[in-house]
């Protein structure tokens, strides 16, 4: 059986902007990049953990870097 595992897809680079803050992350897709960005932002700003976690997807602007 041939299975499709997204983990093995090559990673792409994204700029993810939320408010005035932008982080650069690597991910397989835009959704994945938002997840990575959340994690990165939580790490950088631990006092904002609850806010970052509760932000809706639409608050993140994702730009793929060529």
């Amino acid at each position: 059986m041939i299975s499709h595992n997204p983990e093995h897809e090559p990673k792409r680079t994204f700029h993810v902007r939320v408010g005035h803050t932008t982080v650069t992350v690597k991910g397989h897709s835009r959704e994945n990049a938002i997840g990575q960005a959340r994690q990165q932002l939580c790490q950088d700003m631990p006092r904002m953990w609850d806010i970052i976690q509760s932000l809706g997807h639409h608050r993140f602007d994702v730009f793929e870097v060529e």
């Binding site: 994690q39 939580c42 790490q43 631990p46 006092r47 953990w49 609850d50 806010i51 976690q53």
Partner: protein, 518 residues
């Protein structure tokens, strides 16, 4: 003029700010009694602070002295009280009229943190929530005694009581230390002592089974054991009593008004215990919430610099003093961060890789829940013991300092984590006060009072010890002794009514022995 009559209510914009901040605090899950804010000027605030936060208390020169100290400090720009809040239902908080609008909002947010802590922390659970009324009653009682017996007599006796107000058992509200005597239990005093059913250790049995169920040798052993216990307990009090004030109330030859005054001092001392026990946590919790509420909701752009300036002033650390606000808030943030990232439990603790530990993130997000749990069950001692970690100590560059007699300077003694933590825990155990208990109320069968200091490596300050013995003599009216350790030898300080004496024994204090026997 009484302070209470000069208090003003809030301006409309402050009422608006208060309602918004209260709503934010409740949204975050803070739970507090109704909080009443009142506006006072600097002089009034200093007066209320000198009274320990209560507008009406018993008259005593100490409050005037504290007021002088506070108002001089304020006049010379050395200190300023931003806020004052009382653990009561409703909570009362005072705002200073001269504060800027952003400061007032900061204070309100901070106050809601305190009020939540008062209501929910277990160590406050036994405090009187109507203490404002109780303190006013105490004031009335003391004033009545002053009218009847003379202000000087009552004030001198109050001085004596206040000098021993620390000699209480801070955990006693939560523990029944000794068996209460049932006043209707006359069993031991009757002639039935020798009847069969009163033989210790005997089980009820039919006569033909008696030698099997109650073998005589087992009964003899049990009788001997109980007799030994009774012999050991023959002292007065039967067990060491740490609540020395209670012991004095029960047994010292005091007049009724003196008993009442001593009980007032004792009640107030117990009321203030949890505040001393939770200073770091309580201030940390309030600072955490003022910073969260203010930075997310409370500030206008033009207020940020002012807020940051005053906030940093409150949280500033000094090389010679531990700032409870700073330590508390940083520890709470550290706990929140650790529980958000899952940095706890066996896997994390057993991980040897420093980089992996630093970047540990299971994304579990339990931080907020955890800090609410911590504020519910801990006091400073257990809080530091449980959550002050090596990483935290390194990150915040904590150190232990002491006076070097060779260089005549204070200098850093150690940055080692166990020593720093040990020092902190020592200073928090029993709020840094020596642990002293009554061992014998009829010492040498002469009605003298014998106390024992549980020495843990820190000697009693002799000036204080001698003055306290003199005051205890006034209460007990017979010679008073305290056993302690001086220069590593077991010693006894005595005051016999006319002079102080110290008798040192040859017995060397041995920590291991002490642990074994106590």
């Amino acid at each position: 003029m009484p302070v209470a009559s000069l208090i003003r209510t809030l301006t409309p914009d402050l009422i608006d700010a208060q309602q918004r901040i209260e709503a934010h605090a409740r949204d975050y899950g803070l739970d507090f009694y109704t909080t009443v804010f009142e506006m006072v000027d600097a002089q009034q605030l200093n007066a209320i602070a000198a009274y320990g936060g209560f507008p009406t208390r018993y008259p005593h020169w100490r409050f005037g002295m504290e007021y002088e100290q506070l108002s001089k400090g304020y006049a010379y720009g050395l200190q300023k009280i931003y806020e004052l809040v009382i653990n009561n239902d409703p909570c009362y908080a005072y705002l200073m009229t001269s504060n800027s609008f952003s400061d007032q909002k900061l204070v309100m947010a901070h106050v809601y943190g305190h009020c939540d802590f008062f209501k929910n922390n277990i160590w406050f659970s036994k405090t009187n929530r109507k203490m404002i009324d109780e303190m006013a009653n105490h004031g009335n009682r003391v004033r009545r005694y002053m009218d009847r017996f003379g202000a000087e007599t009552v004030e001198e006796f109050t001085d004596v009581c206040l000098s021993v107000e620390d000699l209480i058992d801070i955990h006693s509200p939560f523990i029944q230390r000794y068996e209460r005597q049932d006043k209707y239990s006359f069993r031991n005093a009757t002639d039935d002592m020798n009847r069969e059913e009163n033989i210790p250790g005997r089980f009820p049995a039919k006569q033909y089974m008696e030698p099997y169920i109650n073998p005589p040798e087992a009964l003899a052993l049990e009788t001997a054991r109980q007799q030994k216990r009774l012999d050991q307990n023959d002292g007065f009090p039967k067990e060491p009593r740490r609540d020395i004030l209670l012991f004095l109330l029960e047994h010292a030859p005091l007049r009724p008004w003196q008993v009442d005054l001593l009980s007032i001092v004792r009640d107030e001392a117990y009321y203030f215990v949890p505040q001393g026990q939770t200073k770091i946590m309580n201030e940390g919790w309030a600072s955490y919430w003022h910073s969260t509420i203010m930075t997310r909701h409370g500030l206008e752009p033009n207020e940020i610099i002012n807020y940051a300036d005053h906030n940093s002033g409150t949280l500033a650390t000094s090389p010679t003093r531990l700032n409870p606000y700073k330590l508390g808030v940083e520890l709470i943030r550290d706990i929140e961060d650790r529980w958000n990232r899952g940095c706890f439990g066996r896997d994390y603790n057993e991980c040897d890789d420093r980089v992996a530990k630093r970047e540990w993130n299971t994304n579990i997000g339990l931080g907020r829940e955890k800090i609410f749990e911590v504020r519910r069950i801990h006091n400073d001692l257990t809080f530091i013991d449980e959550f002050l970690t090596l990483e935290f100590c390194r990150r915040h560059k904590l150190f232990k300092f002491g006076y070097n007699e060779n260089t005549e300077h204070y200098e850093i003694e150690s940055r080692e984590f166990p020593k720093v933590k040990q020092q902190l825990l020592y200073s928090l155990t029993n709020r840094g006060r020596p642990i002293i208990s009554v061992r014998d109320g009829n010492y040498k069968n002469r009605g003298e009072l014998y106390l024992k200091h549980d020495y843990n490596g820190v000697e009693l300050e002799l000036n204080y010890a001698n003055a306290t013995l003199e005051n205890l003599f006034q209460l007990w009216q017979r010679p008073v002794h305290v056993e302690t350790v001086l220069d590593n030898r077991v010693s006894t300080l005595t005051f016999d009514g006319s002079e102080q004496s110290v008798s040192k024994t040859d017995q060397v204090w041995n920590e291991a022995e002490e642990v074994k026997t106590s």
